[in-house]
Amino acid sequence: MTGRQIAITLALVVAAVILQTTVFGDGRIQPFGSAPNIVTLVVIATVRYLDPEPGILIGFTAGLLLDLLGGSPLGLWAMSLTVVAFVTLRVRRRADEGWPIVAIGIFGLTLLGQVLFAVGGTLFGQRTLNNPSVVQTMILPSLYNTLLAALVLPGVTKLMGVGPVVRNWAK
């Protein structure tokens, strides 16, 4: 891991937060009422290449930025994305096993972040689980992220200056 990778990761996180709060924010591009969670996707994509401590800190920072620029209490997205970053670090070796595993991983990790945010929001009186469309609100961003991963993951891999993951069967 290099300083360049950290700088690229921070730039990507800031860009993702700005996109999330403008283009993919509530009321703009939201097919079927939900948008991809770009910030979560960028955290998952970048943390794969970072050491554990910076990786966890990136998750926390991205979440805190979302909290600061959103309507939720401070700390909710920070907590969710810290967990997402931590779990990503624990399972990142499984990415070598091919695209189906990566797709399942992206879906599961995004869903984990959404569920943690919804549960945390409810614990802190935000009534997020009272939302009748809560399942749709959690599942759709996970699906969109899985689809977008096909574009974002190779791009991040290139930007981070590491080669594409070599599949076991191709070695």
Binding site: I18, D26, G27, P73, L74, A78, R127, S133
Partner: protein, 300 residues
């Protein structure tokens, strides 16, 4: 051994950051968005506003294109819906004039004239909530323009929401569709009062606890005073409903505003809940004092 130590360090950091997040959320909720959280939000808003403006400007054509495509996809459904609506309206047209007179009479008797004379500040939407959980909008005017927490936000169609966070040059609007939002309303057709509660992505719900008459699809609901100035259109009743003994009347409401098309809004700065006087008959009247401060105020 080294990897064990590393695992240990990262786990400790992870647990530490979870504790920090939990404490931040606790303090932020307890302080109701004031204090350190307010300062941090203020700083972040100031820092990111120019970048967000730039992103909105650059991506406007893309958003417009996607909007247009999704409109085409929904055109057929919309056409069928409109045809059904025309049939309904044709059936209603005979009673329309009579109903209109009745509404005007009720509005006069209740002091529910739309608040055209209230001082307001125009603002532009600069950013949105970051997920479907977040039914908020950010505007480009803040305390420097006389905006304070709690003020009502409207557009040309009706009630948008209310201000729930203010910095110097921006503010956050919590929309009426947010599950944390509640608006006291009056059905002008029946004079019954109730409560419209946000449901996130779903239609807001109207709840009436002591309704005697039924509410009919198409009934217009106006703010009844309290937290919001009276007489602002909130929405229309989506489906007819009546209360059953011992149960509240609950039905869906179609908001008057089009949330996906909000671009400019007005913040009513010339009214606060303290301005409302309720006389013995329950009629709400308002005063329209202009705000103090250097705000560029309209509507006076």
């Amino acid at each position: 051994m080294q990897s064990f130590r590393r695992f240990d360090r990262s786990t400790t950091l992870f647990v530490g950051l979870l504790v920090v997040s939990f404490l931040l959320a606790t303090f932020d909720v307890r302080s109701q968005g004031e204090g350190v959280g307010n300062v941090m939000r203020d700083g972040a808003q100031s820092l990111f506003s120019p970048l967000q403006d730039f992103a909105v400007a650059v991506t406007r054509p893309l958003v417009g294109f996607v909007d247009g495509v999704s409109n085409i996809a929904g055109l057929r459904d919309e056409n069928e819906r409109l045809q059904e609506r025309v049939i309904e309206l044709e059936a209603l047209v005979g009673d329309a004039e009579q109903l209109e007179r009745r509404v005007e009479e009720l509005e006069r008797s209740l002091g529910l004239d739309p608040p055209d004379d209230l001082a307001a500040v125009s603002a532009r939407i600069t950013a949105l909530g970051n997920s479907a959980f977040d039914q908020v909008r950010f505007i480009d005017k803040g305390s420097e323009a006389g905006i304070v927490k709690g003020q009502a936000v409207i557009d040309e169609n009706g009630l948008v929401g209310r201000i729930d966070f203010v910095s110097n040059d921006s503010a956050r609007v919590r929309l009426i569709t947010d599950p944390q939002s509640g608006v006291g309303v009056r059905d002008v057709a029946t004079n019954e009062t109730g409560w419209v509660e946000g449901q996130g992505l779903d239609f807001p719900q109207l709840k009436m606890f002591n309704a005697v008459e039924e509410v009919t699809a198409g009934d217009r609901l106006f703010t009844a005073g309290g937290r919001y100035p009276p007489g602002i259109l909130v929405g229309t009743v989506r489906s007819t409903a009546e209360s059953e003994a011992g149960f509240a009347l609950i039905t869906d409401v179609v908001p008057a505003i089009e949330l996906s098309r909000l671009d400019y809004v007005k913040v009513i700065v010339g009214w606060s809940p303290l301005d409302a006087d309720v006389d013995d008959t329950g009629t709400v009247t308002t005063t329209t004092e202009p705000p103090s401060g250097p705000a560029e105020v309209e509507g006076q």
